[in-house]
Symmetry: C2
Subunit: 395 residues, 2 copies
């Protein structure tokens, strides 16, 4: 490698570390990266000059010896626009280095508001609103969007988002055009981004073999193996909601029968609970509240979903041999209420060698996993090459 | 990187290329590696001096201009011992660089001959027999063994090989001790090694997203994603034979019900064909021969297995989004006889975005995938560091 490549590599290493862990001392950075003290000093100076981090000597602390400089992401530094397009709502946020959410906006969507053009209008409007509220102004260094559907990795083309009723939508291109074409727009699948966020700063930090199962109306998984996200050849890996778990099961909107989604998706829960009127998050929450209060029909419905969830997770354990499974979306509540049922099916159906090493976790980021994952996606370009930012954006 | 690290890196790059492709011209090596001509010249000289390759100028060829030197693996160079422990046979072979099988030995096993100690005795005896037949003599630079079971990657501990009736066998340690402890012994799962071999030199070269499904008595998959094998945290990934495909299905020896193996393993085929006496490869072959000859019961049995095979493959397509699936073992014959049934289930159950890009292939290495994969595993250490070989082994 040439000297400027080595410098960029080291800047990236350091900035990723600060981005993941937040405020750190120079001594901690030296220990974590294996670089020597003078190199760390020079690199931190570079990151300060680039407007990415700030450095200060803590005062008033009760420390022995010479205090180590503290390095932290600069609060008024570059930011990204993160968007979580879910079936019933769009959440938009400005997020800074360190994964700090600065401002957040949420709108409910339904019917025509779910159309791609309407969603893009909403995002562009929210971006302007959020931009106006930033004291320093300035454009985001990247835009990351989470979509509940199959997203082609290469160009952010949405092949199918069934619960939004989207097919073949060139979403990244359309959104990018609306931003004038000069902003880095990245699109990801909601479960993939949830996995990324939970691995980076959620419940599964430190687990380099991880399955994040996201279940609300639709069901999908994001998979991390040896610390790297599994994409598959087009970006469609992890469509486990449409794995057959019972060929004689109910018909699925995908054209198959007995898909996992027909057993553990929210429609299955509502059907099992006998809910024929009303739908959406509120109806689902009602079932959970009734189950927690001891209503026998609601409890049985949650228990049935929990049993099928356990079966589905056992399949993923046999397939991926992860160290941890994080269950997100409304399925997290199923684990909270009926963990024993889930674990019993895991015990029964997962191979012992893989079963013994796996932890069943709830998300560390609550309902925000996909949003934070979208921010991570938008930050990748900057994190890969911290010295590539135009000065106008950095300051 | 320090100069000696760069040299080792480049030697490794070059040797891997020659190992995969066999005889090549210097010009081809220059084009493939991106290194300049003088560097290639120096590295080839190093590999010649290490006793790994030979170089010669072709004579008598009808070529225009100055002929390019040809570089090829040295036939009397280092070799590995590759072993495929299957349920009914042990195949042992000496394999040279370039994946060339020099000598091959096969013995049938049954009953007590399947015990770990007996298998180890057999391997050690075969190694001696094969060693005596090498003109130059010398010890192998590595030993690779394929096992039909769950293998812990870290230390070659076999957690469970149900069809050999093994549980908790420290196989790599025991075999290594019998070789005097100074030979590099590597153990792998048969499907993982089949995937490795088919990717390296079989039907799936050029496909960096690949599922190899191995089905005989047991069923397992080896998965390659972005060119890298998926191991999972312990090495147990790809145990897809024990993924539930119908919870109300037949009991499986693993303790669960309705596992994929209970629908597409050889016992399921024999049961469907009404074979109550006799078992093993010969009985399975008889069903295939009868089905090909038009026997209605045998045809129906193969068709039923093909249907469940298609369902299982659809699940893997949704899960991994591969470019190619290679079906090996006796399931290859099911694909040959009933490909349309398999493809129909794939069409019906795999998500269109993933389905449209996937090819269904038969193994390029026939029944030898796991054996060649075991050789690949044994060669890894030498390929990583071609300059680390003791001179006594290289010559």
């Amino acid at each position: 490698m040439r000297p400027e490549e080595i410098r960029r590599h080291n800047l990236s290493l350091l900035l990723r570390h600060i981005h993941q862990h937040g405020e750190l001392t120079r001594a901690e950075l030296t220990a974590a990266t294996g670089l020597n003290r003078s190199t760390i000093g020079a690199l931190v100076s570079d990151l300060v000059a680039l407007g990415l981090v700030s450095e200060y000597v803590p005062s008033g602390r009760d420390r022995a010896g010479r205090p180590s400089h503290l390095v932290a992401p600069r609060p008024d530094g570059p930011y990204v626009l993160a968007v979580d397009v879910a079936v019933e709502r769009i959440v938009t946020a400005t997020v800074g280095l360190g994964g700090v959410v600065h401002e957040r906006r949420q709108v409910a969507i339904d019917g025509a508001a779910r159309r791609p053009e309407a969603v893009i209008d909403q995002i562009v409007g929210d971006a302007e609103w959020l931009g106006r509220r930033r004291p320093g102004g300035g454009a985001p260094v990247g835009v990351g969007v989470s979509i509940p559907g199959t997203v082609r990795r290469r160009d952010g083309f949405v092949d199918h988002a069934p619960n939004l009723n989207w097919r073949a939508v060139p979403f990244a291109d359309s959104l990018s055009a609306r931003f004038g074409g000069d902003v880095n727009v990245q699109i990801g699948n909601d479960a993939d981004l949830g996995a990324l966020a939970e691995h980076q700063r959620g419940a599964a930090t430190g687990y380099d073999h991880l399955v994040y199962l996201n279940g609300s109306v639709g069901v999908g998984a994001g998979i991390i193996s040896e610390g790297t996200q599994l994409h598959g050849s087009g970006g469609y890996a992890g469509e486990i909601g449409h794995m057959t778990i019972n060929p004689d099961g109910p018909p699925c909107h995908c054209g198959s029968t007995g898909c996992i989604e027909t057993y553990i998706g929210e429609h299955a829960l509502l059907r099992a609970a006998g809910v024929t009127e009303g739908h959406g998050a509120r109806a689902v929450d009602t079932v959970f509240i009734e189950a927690a209060a001891g209503d026998p029909v609601a409890r049985q419905a949650v228990c049935t979903v929990a049993m099928w969830l356990g079966r589905s997770l056992a399949n993923l354990v046999n397939c991926f041999n992860p160290q941890a499974i994080v269950v997100g979306g409304s399925l997290a509540e199923v684990v909270r209420l009926e963990r024993r049922t889930v674990e019993t099916e895991l015990d029964r159906r997962a191979m012992s060698a893989s079963r013994s090493g796996v932890k069943l976790l709830l998300p560390g980021l609550g309902q925000e996993s996909a949003l934070i994952g979208a921010a991570e996606l938008a930050f990748q370009e900057l994190l890969d090459a911290p010295d590539s930012l135009p000065v106008s954006l950095a300051n």
